[in-house]
């Protein structure tokens, strides 16, 4: 099995739409296919990240309903995990 580093994986997620789509649909499976295995705790956290990501994907179908306002309303709030892990991550939250 070919293992790629997390950095290479991130590059593909950022630049390859088809690869990114596969990742959104089943992140654990895709990571496993790349030789990246996660602990149960990290898998849970990854799924939380992906859930948040799915919810924040720009959808042009809803663009006519105040898209600009949604973007300007993005809030950066500290997450509990940030404090636990101490890495300074910020979690996005879209206001209704």
């Amino acid at each position: 099995m070919v293992t790629v580093g997390a950095r290479n994986f991130l590059v593909k997620v950022n630049t390859n739409a088809a690869y990114r789509a596969r990742f959104i649909k089943d992140p654990i499976k895709l990571l496993a296919s790349e030789g990246i295995t996660l602990s149960a705790e990290d898998q849970t956290e990854l799924l939380e990240v992906i859930d948040a990501f799915r919810g924040s994907l720009p959808n042009l179908g809803t663009l006519p309903k105040g898209y600009g306002a949604v973007i300007s309303a993005v809030q950066k709030v500290p997450s509990k995990k940030r404090h636990r892990r101490g890495k300074g991550e910020l979690t996005p939250m879209f206001l209704p």
Binding site: A6, V13, A17, L46, E48, L60, G61, I71
Partner: protein
């Protein structure tokens, strides 16, 4: 903008059209009136309906039926009744086209009510159009040509796309997919040119409408993709064909394939760049009329699409940045755990 003078200057004409359409609905057989109201109040937003809230982006331009009034003004058509008939014929044409589209999407044998309704609106449309033409032969020629274009579009829509890259943002694809739109809008505009005795302007009107419609096709597909994705042959949506081509699965794209593509700058540039390109050509063509209404409409449309493109790119970057932060948090330890091949072989 919806409050722009290019719209508000024609409020009396809009009120007149609404009364006419309400009258037509009221004159229909009671059995088809509920469906007629659906088309006029919900589907096409001609008449404000009770309990129906319209979600319309205030920045989005509304060509119908205003283009009839803008063109009549540009061509010096002073007769108010003919101007209003031009606007009304556009509305009737749009309702007829919407019904025709829906009938094509369902089994029409099981929907005789829809077929009857379409025939009623088509009859009113033809009757209104006939009043605009100085001669019967001109009317016939225009209507027959539009009918032939509709049939050509229906043939294209029912023929399976080739598996090889159809290039959905190309002029060839967009011309085919815009044919029904042009067939819907062009006849009333030609009628206005005849009514104004300005037949020499018909080629310019035709070119303007084609360029505008080809850009608008993508814009419409961007807004309707969630309905199109579950439709037969994905409704020939240029956006979904593009996504399918990109992810390498011509006819089986799903929601996340589409949303994933929306995050790419390349998609935003391709889609909106094409829209803006066609609308810029339309603006150039229509500027020949020297109409402040048409000029402003095109300026606002191009500005709106440019704004949407920039918003999508900004939003995509922001969303990916948030994802990267989340992934770095999760995958950080993986870097330490997963040994590079060299070290593994040494061990």
């Amino acid at each position: 903008m919806q409050s722009s003078r290019i719209y508000t200057d024609f409020n009396p004409e809009i009120a007149w059209i609404r009364r006419e359409v309400e009258g037509l609905v009221g004159s229909l057989d009671p059995s088809v009136q509920p469906r007629a109201r659906f088309y006029t109040e919900v589907r096409l937003k001609v008449i404000p309906g009770r309990g129906v809230t319209w979600q319309i982006d205030q920045g989005m331009g509304r060509m119908l039926p205003y283009v009839a009034f803008w063109l009549a003004d540009a061509l010096g058509l002073a007769n108010m009744r003919l101007r209003r008939l031009g606007g009304l014929s556009l509305v009737l044409s749009a309702i007829t086209t919407a019904l025709r589209d829906d009938i094509a999407d369902v089994d029409s044998a099981n929907n005789p009510e829809m077929v009857r309704l379409e025939q009623c609106w088509a009859g009113s449309y033809a009757e209104t159009m006939r009043e605009l033409f100085p001669a019967e032969h001109q009317f016939r020629k225009v209507m027959l040509s539009a009918e032939a274009e509709c049939k050509r579009y229906e043939r294209w829509q029912s023929t399976p796309l080739p598996n090889a890259h159809p290039r959905p943002f190309s002029a060839g694809f967009l011309r085919e997919s815009s044919r029904a739109t042009v067939a819907c809008i062009l006849p009333p505009l030609i009628a206005i040119a005849y009514a104004a005795r300005r037949e020499e302007d018909i080629p310019r009107i035709r070119r303007f409408l084609w360029e505008y419609s080809m850009g608008w096709r993508i814009s419409d597909d961007l807004m309707d993709w969630e309905e199109d994705i579950v439709a037969k042959e994905m409704n020939r949506s240029s956006v979904l064909v593009y996504v399918g081509d990109w992810v390498g699965r011509a006819r089986t794209v799903d929601r996340f394939d589409v949303l994933s593509c929306f995050l790419s700058d390349r998609f935003a540039e391709d889609a909106y760049g094409t829209i803006i390109g066609y609308m810029s050509k339309a603006r150039k063509i229509v500027s020949g009329f020297g109409s402040p209404y048409l000029d402003q409409f095109m300026e606002e449309e191009i500005g709106f699409q440019t704004h949407k493109r920039d918003l999508l790119i900004r939003s995509g970057k922001l969303t990916l940045s948030d994802l990267n932060e989340g992934l770095a948090r999760v995958l950080g330890p993986v870097k330490r755990r997963a040994l590079p091949p060299k070290r593994r072989s040494q061990g």
